[in-house]
Symmetry: C5
Subunit: 322 residues, 5 copies
């Protein structure tokens, strides 16, 4: 996620100089053919080009709405992950106490040490889940060792990393742990058990939401033609402008070039801007800042566990928060 209020011109230029050059060359060619070569049939009337331009504007507007909604959806899902993480932690810490309150379970009260271990395992596995989901979305399996494994028992980590979808099985393992807490250890009563299972259900919904956005691109037929139409309009632009400019005087025709570049750049930028938020989980500049959010969760949960050696919040790198 880009965090600077205004984009740096350097960045804009770096992303668009190739297109600007193309616009310049094409309009220069048109001017040369019309002016020096005096081939006036290259000109087309402006009005139909304008109508096309407006229709294309609508279409890009529609596509940008869809793209922005994808980003927003993705960001809201990750917001939900933050919220549910805190809920999960609060439930684990305040439901699971030394007291054996499951009916019909005969077991000793939990010691402070046991409780700490059990709390820690439930919260650490949750952090592992967040990170596992993130690196799967960003297709970075190489980060497992640094970002997921430290929050799991080594054995569990090895089993999980070879699952088809580790995040799914981590949530299920939380469910298995709740079962053991309820049935074997007796530290959860039925109300609490069902209530925490509901939180896991919500985690599945959130995880599935991310996978839906990741696996279902913005429908290609919509997205692709937005790109095609813009280039088509940009191609017709100098042909339509040259006649209008030449009407203002013979030396005016060269003004077609800067003006053509400007208008082409605007339409192209609108298209590109929408394009950038289409896919919010690609480890790129316009991603949902999942790494930072995972870190926030880690800090919150470890602070709730009473830990004090907390990692720092992530800071943007080159104006970008990942």
């Amino acid at each position: 996620m880009y965090v600077r209020n205004n984009l740096r011109w350097r960045l804009i230029f770096a992303n668009s100089w190739r297109n600007l050059l193309a616009f310049a060359l094409w309009s220069a060619v048109v001017c040369a053919v019309y002016g020096p070569l005096n081939l006036h049939s290259v000109a087309i009337p402006w009005q139909p080009v304008a109508t096309l331009g407006i229709a294309v504007s609508f279409y890009i507007g529609f596509k940008n709405n869809g793209s922005y909604d994808r980003f927003l959806d993705a960001r809201q899902i990750w917001g939900g992950i933050v919220n549910s993480s805190r809920t999960w932690a609060m439930q684990a810490l305040e439901y699971i106490t030394s007291r054996v309150d499951a009916p019909d379970v005969d077991a000793p009260a939990a010691t402070a040490t046991e409780l700490t271990l059990r709390h820690r395992r439930l919260l650490y596995r949750h952090i592992a889940w967040c990170n596992a989901l993130r690196i799967r979305l960003r297709q970075q399996p190489e980060l497992w060792d640094t970002d997921v494994a430290p929050f799991l028992d080594p054995a569990e980590s090895e089993v999980m990393r070879h699952r088809q979808n580790p995040a799914t099985h981590l949530v299920r393992e939380q469910g298995a742990e709740l079962r053991r807490l309820r049935e074997e250890r007796g530290l959860l009563n039925d109300f609490q058990h069902v209530s925490m299972m509901r939180t896991l259900e919500r985690l599945y919904d959130l995880q599935g939401g991310c996978e839906r956005i990741k696996n279902t691109p913005f429908p290609r037929q919509y997205a692709f033609f937005s790109y095609v139409f813009v280039w088509l309009f940009v191609g017709l632009l100098p042909l339509g402008l040259i006649g209008e400019f030449s009407r203002l005087g013979p030396d005016h025709i060269w003004l077609t070039i800067p003006f053509s570049i400007l208008v082409s750049w605007v339409f192209n930028t609108i298209e590109v801007v929408g394009h950038t938020s289409e896919n919010p989980f690609e480890n790129q500049m316009n991603d949902v800042p999942m790494t930072a959010l995972c870190r926030t969760i880690e800090i919150d949960l470890r602070e709730m566990l009473g830990e004090t050696n907390l990692p720092p919040r992530l800071a943007p790198v080159d104006d970008i928060l990942y």
Copy 2:
């Protein structure tokens, strides 16, 4: 679902060459009448055509929004099916344990073998439900034997396939199985029973959402006129353009043909693009990839059961994921 980032031009051409030809012929006729035949009354002023074009753009934009929302809705419902499938599996596996915890039921603890069988039946019937829903939506009853029957007892499969709506009765059968587990076998307590019934309720909501989209087309009065208006605009287009082009010079009139084709193609494509996502359950190129999602569910659930001979994920065929 088309998965390639950019559509292949081959595909675009295959879908639009008939229309392109029609545009070409019609504008050629107009040019011939205006130029060689010198019948100038065929020309109409461009301005009103432009106004019509903009109004039509709005209208198609509105229709495309509606069509896209139908696709999105369908995809989100199937996302919900994936999520609820995992929840169902986690509940079945972690709630139903060897322990008899229903009150007032006198029964022996379940053996590992019995448990495996019971878990498997609940999860397999769920996979059968996903597939039964899919083949009903796509109207492919012939796939029952390969896609649904293997996940059911043969007798149950026979009964179900002759129901008016097999998916409805499969969910109800899950409810009946839960009842038996609670009342006869005692492996579910009341909390767990009600909680799993809630998951079945959610499955009914998801199934009903699919049936709603399938049975209620995009209102025909909206959709049909979008098509009519575009062709009407396309028909008027060369009549409006010819006067504008002829004003630039007599030899310019033939430029009407390529330009007319281009603009007609853009408007027509916008209309067609919307059209393609109107009906997301037709076993076509722009469908929600239900077969692939059913496979994902199958893999997840069977892996949760501890099975290892998992089927592979589905790959796109000719860039299309079904």
Copy 3:
């Protein structure tokens, strides 16, 4: 609900010939005044008419969005009714069993016959509710005898039909029946009782949603002006076109007539199309197909009861499903 993919031209013509005639007459009058009578002051410049046309397009677009959303909302509510009907049936059939599991109730186990009767009563009353809601929305109280009464005890039917709002009292009667099952007969435990009451709560939400759409029309100030503006634009249209056409030559002015009819028809059709989905419960062509949905519910529920003499699904009449 109109079900044919393309509207029949016959139908379109039947609905619009009066307007087409009006457009034709008005533009003919304008042409006659301008041409033969040579009264050129009748012409107005096209540009401002175009601006007005675009503003009006926006406004109709906005209204159509609102109208379509009303239809969609209505359809989703009825989809919810289908889903909740299945849930209600599953809960009734699988929660209410021979076993007396209410605490502190001393009663004999239910016989198969008693159960069948009780299940049937709960499901039939539900079918009665769906139908009662439908005929109230469509203001067809005369259908009570054929569509509601057969699903109720005669005495209950008589009481209910004279209530101010029968559907409300039918749901409440279901609640009373649940109370008796829980408190007197002991066939529901508290979990199940509360859970089924929740389903009734949802039915109230769905019923209230229908009544909201029925009783609150699309705000008249928005809808009425859409109609006024279109006719205003249509009235100005030939006045604006005549000047543009006459500029192409004196004999061109008569072309104003067909062109004027066309553009008027497009704007008018856009307006009318929106208008048709404003009120989805009026027993008209563009209604939510409530009769068909009620039948679907009836089939599903009676099949769940094990009945085999099921009524057929409803088929469209003249391309329309009611």
Copy 4:
């Protein structure tokens, strides 16, 4: 809420004659300066005015969307109040029975008389809540005596009317009554108690939704400029039209007046129409019909209590339902 299908022209005229006069005067002034006074510099080119007009159309369209959504939101909240009222009544009537089913409460079964009193109190206080909410939203504290007090004990009514926000405390009083029913009288068990508290929670959500709409106007910066821009456009309109009309002939310039009035009226009406639904709780023509909805609730609830002297439904006054 205006209920007639078409607005009466009388009403429209009454609301807009001042503006129409202003438009007429202003355009007459412009014509007089351009024509008789021959001061041609008053004319400005039409094209930029048109561009401004389109930009302004967009902006008003955006504002109207927001205004309409506010009305819709308000109406849906009140729909929710109707639904939750029925749910509340059903719960009160069917949960609170003669049977003492709260655990550990030793109390006698309730008599029919006691039950009637208790049911009545819960339902009447609910009606009081609806009315108290309504008169607070409409700032009509003088209606307390006629619309709220009759549904409360006199003492309770006096205490409540002096609370900062009576509706809030009425809901809380329902919560207190539930507590007494559960803890002291034993007529609610825990399932029922929590379930009814959930309904109260929902009432708080609905009440809060109304207060949000009431206390947070449509952002003034958005709304105010919509008004300013329209008047600005209306002011420029005859300046832009005069040139276009004069081009058609010297006597054409006076046509600027009627045409200017028409276009001004359309733009102004679009703006005003949006404005009217901005604030749906002001006791005006376009309000959500809260009085009628409160009456519907009163009828439903009192009929459920078995009362027969029900008040009539409210009818529109001068086409307006309050």
Copy 5:
């Protein structure tokens, strides 16, 4: 939040005079170059500028929609906080009574004094949470002493203020208090315990929603280009107008200046208006009035506790409610 119905012109002028001056200077330069300096090549045709203007209008419209939705979202979240605060208070006051109803807890009934203290602590800590969330969103840690500390035990206040995110830990502390009430003091039964934990879960969702809006700005790529495009259009505007005006007569060219200023101001204002609601938690004029809402919550909750020395509602300062 600005509360006056119409913005004061003083305020508008104060915010825009710099821009107005810039527009005036730039168009004056253009006029001077075109007129006195007679350098006609500075003029460009209007039509393409108009097309650009329309495309830019669309784009700003899209951005304004997004910005407005952010404000609306923020306001709805804070509405939810008000609602949940009342629910929390009602639950605390009506669930926690003198009666010990937790199973298996052996403790004496609570005295009135103890109850008052316990109720007060739960409600005051909630007020502290609202205020802590607010001052964190507005980055005003200096307000802790006056706005948060008075509602907490001094010790708790000190611990909390040094947490990374005090609001998170305040909710968790409520959870810990509920645990003590259930397990140690026995004043909550399991139904009530889980139900209040659900309210805390909802508070986490609301808090997380605020943090999401605060931490994720409107995507910079969308917002920034809206600003750039408007200035680009404003820059081209006089170049395009000058030709149109000069066509009406040589002295007309100076009219370019006022007209240019006007149109520039409209486009610029539309852009700025959207900009202002992008970030609703910045302690600025267009903020969600969080201080006032926190005060409302404080009044409601303290009145529920029976306190009478309630603070006054907040009034707007210079038409602005904070």
